[in-house]
Amino acid sequence: MSEGQLIYSAIGSSSQRVDIREKVDGSLKYFTDMKMDGMLYGVVFRSTVTHARIRSMDVTKAISMPGIRAVLTSRDIKGMNAYGVIVPDAPVLAYDKVRFYGEPLALIAGDTLEQAEAAKDGIKVDYEPLPVIRNIDEALKNDAPLIHNNGNIARSMKVERGDLARGFKDSYLVLDRDYRTHMQKHMFLETEAGLGYLDEKGVINIFVSGQGAHSYKGQITRALEIPPDKLRIVNYPEGGAFGGKDDVTIQILLTLLVMKTKKPVKLVLTREESGAGGYHRHASLIHLKTGVSKDGRFMANKAHILLDTGAYVSFGPSVLDTAMEVINGKYRIPNISVEGTLVYTNNGFSSAFRGFGAPQGNFAIENMVDELAYELKMDPIDFRLLNLLQEGEINSFGNPERDTMGAHVALTEAKGSRLWKISKKGSLPWIKVGLGVSFGVKGVGYGPVKDVSYAAVEVIPSGLVKAFFSNADYGQGINTGHLQIVAQKLGIPFENLRTVNADTAECPDTGSSDASRSTFTGGNALINACDQLIEVMKPEAARMMKVQPTEISYADGKFTFKEGSEVSIFDIASFMAKEGKGTKFIGSFEMPRVAKPIEGMIEAPRFSNAYGVLLSLVEVNELTGLVKAKAFDFYADIGKVINPLLALSQCESGLIQGLGYAITEELTYDVDGKPLNTNYTTYIVPSTTDIPSIDVRFVDAVEKYGPYGAKGVGEIPIVPVASSLTNAVHDAIGMRFRELPLSPPRVSSRMQQNKGISVLA
């Protein structure tokens, strides 16, 4: 099917977000803004202890309190009362045990929010406290108390290739290092929120924050035993997600409330609840031993990655696989051993967070790479270029490398950065300046798991084409990017296109908005839907024009026989509608997978990868330990750029979340396992005054299988930030930080230990 001549090129133009006007004039209704007549308010009663057996729970007093319509516990759940995107190990409402502070135990529905809140005082729980496991090391002790009956190890994986011992033996230099990273909160501006109601057809409609409407539908119907046709989930619009709304948050709770009360119910988590009960990024401990030859070639890499998944696994296995995937960089390493261990602790609930394990793995390997280059007295970029796999070479996980060309270009372009020329003389004697490099990889899609996405386009006779897909637009702009793909494919002006987003009643299952996959998979599924549109409409057009289908061609929204003889898809739709034919076309796309998967791995290795090279210029204040990022130069291969403005915005976004991760942000639990900093005054996300100057360049690259050559941009920017900053700090003050964050107390105390710095200002 030919694509025809375009009036303009939609791909590569900075189309405005489809919903931007409603976002600037305040008219867009977020889930927190929704209301219905007769609506009840739901609240969640949560554990106030971290790890305990539940001896008994008494809710009788709460039920009789004023305005209370329902108090629900595990006894009210008919289904399996468990959820979890990979392993359903988390109870919807806890019954025998609580495993983290803030775990849901009961739900209350009241006429007013205040009444519902007040009824929490009417619930009594008798706990038998159990010792709290606060970190990976404690969880793995021989005598550690068990969080789940099957032990504190949720997953073990090992991948080996080559002869590791030989590799180390033949190495000129071997470094053996431990790296630790901490927990990061998503801190989306809009907390987990939703409104649900039962409609006249007996369908429960749930409007709720989320990234994967169809995934929730499956999980909810299993957990609560609801027929799939009695449940509808809508995930758009919402105030940020970043992975923190990827697995189920409040969806099941809200559904249960509506099921039992048969009334509309609104449920919005407070910031504190979102902090204790919501998700965060896995803390990690990574042992890394790496050997290189004298001329700077990798000989062997041995890694053991341990991740703290908290009380339940959620996306833990996928996150672990991703960390394992990136621990060899994209370097030519003939001998490897990569071990992964996912560990239960009582630290809340870890799950997906932009980068999905890649920032942790990258922190270790890129710190190591920088140290090796330094010890070998090699230029850090030349060292990386020397070892970067060429296309066609067999990579560490045994597959031919297929897309590192853009990475070579990005690294090469980074050699010409403006930052190399900046003076490293500080403005004051105690301000030290340094420049650091890091190279990040982030796979696109779900790896070896079969991933088929569906999306639809519908031609409306009045002159619109609607695109239907379930990749939720939580701010990244997928509604806009997808429409550009449809605009390009059909040659239809942007203003004649509309989206229906993330609604299980109307949208086919395009999968979730995660894993940097939406553009790649959803975009291709839409292209396929457009192909079907053209294929089905062509004979209809031919019939209308009374010519043979072979005599007409498609371009710019119409079929043309010859100059002046044409019929638009809207006229065809009208023609078809009169004959009772549908004009909605469902397309599909199966994500390509690597030839040789690794047994047991579910998320890696991936077929396609985005790459990013980040140069960071920092100032380290030797007196206070404050690390200030002054400039970021980011060179990225995200394939063909669909929308430069939105892609830039995603890069700025990820870089600054990475800056927070590296320096100011750290979720902390006290000795009893209670989170200490979950609001914006205690958990420090970057503000406007903390931002370095940012320069983003996209290298010219095309992914053969991506829609119009695109890959994905959502995650790659955050991946190299922390390692780039620690490498820059090393350049500034000669100290390697192998533990995050680079907080002033940590940096200061290291400097005082190492240098005995005088504190005269």
């Binding site: 206070t624 200490l676 005054t681 420090i684 105390s749 504190v759």
Partner: protein, 295 residues
């Protein structure tokens, strides 16, 4: 159910709390109190909102060499007032980092004094200036030196029937300067790790410290404190590296700082030493500069 009292005059406000004043929470703008009410950290029976008393309690006056500020002066008004652009620079340094812009538009001097949380930035400055707080009640006014105002975390020497009416202090002379520094993890909206305010006066020929007052917060017990021993050591000394190094040691031994998840006491101490040196040099430089330029 919380009752909100909204008087239109000070006299009316004072009579509202003349009895049962201990049930009443006094609101300057609410920028400190309202979030605490929302968090249920406090559940007041009654709230007395002073925002209607602007005509009586919102003024910055200079009388002779005494500066008087009404309790309802906002942080924004301080930043925008020419009076604070010279020797009273400490207020500008604190004001620019106080909360965020919207909070600066709202937060009042009286509210800051009344809240007495360990992160109130203005209190150390007032202590360094040796300011006095004027409490009003139906029985008349009472003076409290600001150094004695905070008796414990979030507790001040205010009787239930009193309202903070005014704070006043002497304008530093042309041999003096004030400075403030606050260190945190972010550049705005920060609860600080540590802060310190200083008043420093040089002798006639500008070679020695004639007088100095140092106030800092995050002291164990979460109250702001004067560093009397450090001040005493520095008085009469020349500003030289050895002097400062010794003063840092005195400060180190004198002050007991608090530890929490944001930072350890050790780190706070190391910061305090840095800030001490920085503020001394800052004040000295500005005084010398002012003399050169005749300001």
């Amino acid at each position: 159910m919380t009752e909100v009292l909204m008087p239109n005059t000070l006299a009316e406000a004072l009579s509202m709390i003349s009895k049962d004043g201990h049930d009443v929470l006094i609101l300057g703008s609410g920028s400190d109190v309202i979030p605490r009410i929302r968090e249920r950290e406090i559940v007041p029976k009654k709230v007395l909102d002073l925002s209607g008393l602007g005509s009586e309690l919102n003024y910055i006056r200079i009388e002779g060499n005494v500066i008087r500020m009404g309790a309802l002066v906002t942080v924004r008004q301080i930043i925008d007032n020419e009076l604070f652009k010279g020797r009273l620079e400490a207020f500008l340094q604190a004001g620019r980092m106080f909360g965020g812009p919207q909070i600066r538009n709202m937060a009042t001097v009286g509210g800051n004094l009344g809240a007495a949380s360990s992160s109130e930035d203005l209190i150390p400055i007032f202590i360094a200036l040796d300011a006095k707080v004027k409490m009003a009640s139906i029985d008349g006014d009472r003076l409290v030196p600001v150094s004695k105002l905070v008796v414990a975390k979030r507790q001040i020497d205010r009787r239930p029937n009193e309202i903070i009416r005014e704070i006043y202090f002497e304008m530093p002379d042309d041999s003096s300067w004030t400075a403030f520094f606050k260190a945190g993890r972010r550049n705005s909206l920060i609860i600080d790790l540590i802060n310190m305010a200083m008043y420093l006066k040089l002798n006639i020929d500008g070679t020695k410290i004639e007088d100095i007052r140092i106030a800092l917060n995050r002291v164990r017990g979460k109250t702001p404190e004067r560093a009397y021993k450090t001040e005493e050591y520095l008085r009469g000394k020349r500003i030289e590296n050895e002097t400062i190094a010794r003063a840092q040691e005195v400060l180190d031994s004198e002050v007991q700082l608090s530890s929490d998840f944001r930072a350890s006491a050790e780190y706070r101490k190391s910061l305090d030493k840095v800030i001490l040196a920085r503020l001394i040099n800052n004040c000295r430089d500005r005084i010398v500069e002012g003399r050169r330029t005749g300001n």
